[in-house]
């Protein structure tokens, strides 16, 4: 009997694999990394996701503000959803629901070792002459993940050792690992693609277009971005070893933006600025001019007063009080001084010297762009306006003071800060009979002073700058005032004491606690302790004693020393 042929019934729909389980945390991605469960936003990069649960994945080329290149291969990790169990670059992979990531498996470890061996294959290992040593990721990761001798017995590829790319940047092509962070920074952040990769294979080098220099105004950032010692700064080159430097959280004083920086210092000298991350202000960039703006902290300083500071302060108070209340006295404040400086000086001006208007000095305007740089080269013009408002003082430009001096109306001036917006103003102000000048640096007005008082710049005190947006930002003391100098608030306080005012301050904090409430309504939400606590770094501290040959005597961290190098306990706020 023939089989009955039945029309084929529609096959039942195969069950198929079960669909993905619903996410453990709706709206978020939950996955495990080295056995730890991490919950992150969808699309989060694996490196950042791992960091959020305290797992460090090494990387060179990845940078959170640049595009992903995934060319250094240092961040390869094991992922449970990788095809064929391949290692995946963590910088390029987003965290996915339910995935298990391993960063410490033997496979990953051996890959990290192999990657480092390749990166170091042609690396010259000239750490003794490399400025990056001490903060070099090749050194760090070699010690952490590699620690094997090179097995390569051929001569290493020789490339350019000292290629000046621009005014601020020197390239060592042999040290370069071709992570292309510098290339991507200029292309993406600056949109000024001045650097590129030339040639192929082990002969690849970072270079500018032939004959063209790297002259971007933010070129110094590539030095900070470079994870190895390939790009070094001509300014900091060979000036010191980074492990001797301590860092203070500070602000760039080059313009009204107030970029957040680390101020690296040793003893009482500033060595460099490194940009500090602040999403609202400068992200993590800084312009070249700002990067070099620390120089006046070190050079051409006014460090002593004639006859000693105490005598000079008494003399200043005497000559100023002779003109007080008669309309022949004026004070000119520099917006390069901190908020505390200006508060203290304004108190002395109003209560001690009976002044009701303030003339504004400060540096002249410079260039401006739409990235960071502001034309106003003074870090605290907004703060000066706030102080004037708080003390009911009229704000007038320096040119009016020059006219008043020329007409003979003003016979005595008190300058808090000797910076002037135009050089000819110094000659005009020098016609006043009495010129009391608190100056940080030598200059036209400082040399024309009848009473010159040594003032200290930002790193020698705590303080606050209010940037052009009205954002108050704190900077912290790096080292104690040099020589006889004092911050403007200290000099103003000493003058005020001679004039009979009762306010006494021994630190910028006390000035702010005493007078800050006067500007509190203009600075909503600002507190003295608002400085975010990020990694302050202490360098190796040299010994406190000095020797007779003028070499580095070392210093005791944050201790004020007198002329003989002994600790001056009386100058400490809480001895």
């Amino acid at each position: 009997m023939a089989e009955e042929i039945k029309p084929a019934a529609a096959p039942p729909k195969p069950a198929g694999p079960p669909g993905p389980p619903p996410p453990k945390n709706p709206g978020m991605v939950t996955f495990t990394i080295d056995g730890r469960e991490a919950v992150v936003k969808p699309g989060t990069n694996l490196i950042e996701a791992a960091a959020s649960v305290g797992v460090g994945i090494p990387y060179y080329c990845w940078h959170k503000r640049l595009s992903i290149a995934a060319n250094c291969r240092m961040c390869l990790v094991e992922m449970s959803n990788a095809p064929g169990g391949k290692l995946m670059p963590a910088c390029q992979m987003a965290a996915a629901e339910g995935v298990a990531v391993k960063t410490d498996s033997p496979k990953v470890k051996s890959q990290q070792k192999a990657t480092l061996e390749f990166l170091l294959l042609n690396h010259p290992v000239d750490c003794p002459i490399c400025d990056q040593s001490g903060e070099c990721k090749l050194q760090d990761f070699y010690m952490k993940y590699d620690t094997q001798a090179s097995r390569y017995d051929q001569p290493k590829v020789k490339l350019g050792k000292r290629v000046p790319l621009g005014k601020l940047v020197v390239l060592d092509q042999e040290r370069c690992i071709l992570c292309t962070r510098c290339v991507r920074f200029l292309r993406e952040v600056r949109q000024n693609p001045q650097l590129g990769v030339d040639a192929r294979g082990s002969h690849s080098v970072i270079t500018t277009a032939p004959g063209l220099p790297l002259d971007d105004r933010y070129s110094g950032n590539v030095v900070d971005l470079c994870p190895v010692g390939a790009l070094t700064s001509t300014d900091f080159r060979f000036r010191g070893r980074v492990w001797f430097l301590s860092s203070a959280r500070s602000l760039c004083t080059g313009c009204a933006r107030g970029c957040n920086v680390f101020l690296d210092y040793m003893r009482d000298g500033t060595y460099r600025y490194r940009p500090r991350e602040n999403e609202q202000v400068n992200r993590e960039w800084i312009c070249d001019e700002g990067r070099l703006s620390y120089k006046h902290f070190n050079d051409d300083r006014v460090l002593s007063a004639k006859g000693g500071r105490a005598a000079a302060v008494a003399e200043a108070a005497r000559v100023l009080s002779a003109h007080a209340g008669q309309g022949t006295l004026a004070w000119i404040a520099s917006p390069t001084a901190s908020l505390e400086d200006l508060l203290a000086a304004a108190l002395v001006a109003r209560d001690g010297l009976k002044l009701s208007e303030v003339y504004v000095g400060g540096r002249p305007d410079g260039w401006q762009d739409d990235f960071l740089r502001r034309a106003d080269q003074n870090p605290n013009r907004a703060g000066l306006a706030m102080v004037a408002r708080a003390f009911g003082m009229a704000v007038k430009p320096a040119s009016e003071l020059a006219a008043a001096v020329a007409s003979g109306k003003v016979k005595a001036i008190w300058a808090v800060g000797a910076e002037l917006p135009a050089p000819e103003l110094a000659d005009a102000l020098a016609r006043a009979e009495v010129r009391v000048v608190q100056a940080v640096n030598e200059g036209a007005l400082a040399s024309a002073a009848t009473v010159l008082l040594p003032a200290s710049p930002a790193p020698e005190s705590d303080g606050t700058f209010v940037n052009f947006e009205g954002r108050a930002q704190r900077f912290e003391l790096a080292y104690w005032p040099r020589g006889e100098s004092l911050p403007h608030w200290g000099l103003a306080g000493e003058i005020g004491r001679v004039l009979g005012l009762t306010s006494r301050w021994s630190s910028a904090r006390e000035v702010f606690e005493d007078l800050g409430r006067r500007v509190a309504d203009q600075l909503p939400g600002y507190a003295w302790a608002s400085l975010p606590s990020v990694d302050r770094r202490k360098g190796i501290e040299p010994l406190p004693a000095g020797t007779t040959d003028g070499r580095l005597p070392g210093h005791r961290e944050r201790m004020p020393l007198d002329a003989n190098g002994n600790v001056e306990w009386s100058r400490l706020p809480n001895p």
């Binding site: 003794p128 002459i129 080159r237 060979f238 000036r239 070893r241 010994l543 007779t548 040959d549 070499r551």
Partner: protein, 232 residues
């Protein structure tokens, strides 16, 4: 080997005392005349002295100096290259390792040399130095050694104990095969380069025994030189 003390009781001759006393006086008198009438061998190496006639072991310090044993950590020196410039690249490793913080360095940049960095100032305060030798151990370039076989001389002032790079740079030059100025374009002339390359030897990664790496270099020779200088 510890020598043993024979605690036997004195024999008759010894218990009489006088023979022993006269014997001792005789030895003293004989040695006195011997040392008085025969000249002393002035060899500073005492063990090498001719002692057949005169047996005085005294060293007339500081005119004569006993050579210190190999490994003695003497006065520092900055090791020169063949062209007289220091091997030092101002990496600050010695200054970092120094527990007494007696080394002060200022680095500078130099043109025309594959080593871009050199010490503009290299100052050691020998008064502060604790002679630990960490600087020698830390040096990655074999540029500082304590193999002079001398110790710092006495001075009337503290400044005299502060040795700058001019006083420290001395002694026989040293080169290694992989030294950058031998394998990269440098300012050396071809003849100087060839001579330097011929004298170069492989860098021992162990590196501890710097004395053995410099043939013909001995602290005794240096002591003899020092003797010649002090005699002149």
């Amino acid at each position: 080997m510890p020598y043993t003390i024979d605690n036997r009781p004195a024999d008759v001759r010894e218990s009489l005392y006088f023979p022993e006393i006269f014997q001792a006086i005789g030895l003293v008198v004989k040695t006195f005349w011997r040392n008085a009438f025969f000249s002393r061998d002035p060899n500073p190496d005492i063990l090498e002295r001719d002692r057949t006639h005169n047996r005085v072991a005294t060293v007339q310090y500081p005119e004569e100096k006993v050579p210190y044993p190999i490994g003695y950590r003497g006065l520092h020196r900055l090791v020169p290259r063949a062209d007289g410039s220091p091997r030092c690249v101002a990496c600050y490793m010695c200054a970092t390792a120094c527990p007494a913080q007696c080394i002060y360095i200022e680095a500078g940049e130099v043109e025309g040399d594959p080593i871009e960095k050199y010490p503009v100032k290299f100052v050691i305060d020998e008064l502060r130095c604790v002679v630990c030798g960490f600087c020698v151990e830390a040096c990655p370039k074999d540029a500082i050694r304590m193999d002079t076989g001398e110790h710092p001389t006495a001075t009337y002032t503290r400044e005299g104990q502060i040795y700058d790079e001019k006083r420290l740079l001395r002694g026989p030059p040293v080169s290694y095969e992989k030294d950058p100025w031998l394998v990269r374009p440098s300012r050396l002339t071809d003849a100087a380069l060839a001579a330097d390359r011929a004298a170069a030897r492989p860098f021992s990664s162990l590196g501890a025994d710097e004395y053995s790496q410099t043939p013909g270099f001995s602290s005794r020779t240096l002591a003899a030189e020092a003797k010649g200088r002090s005699g002149a």
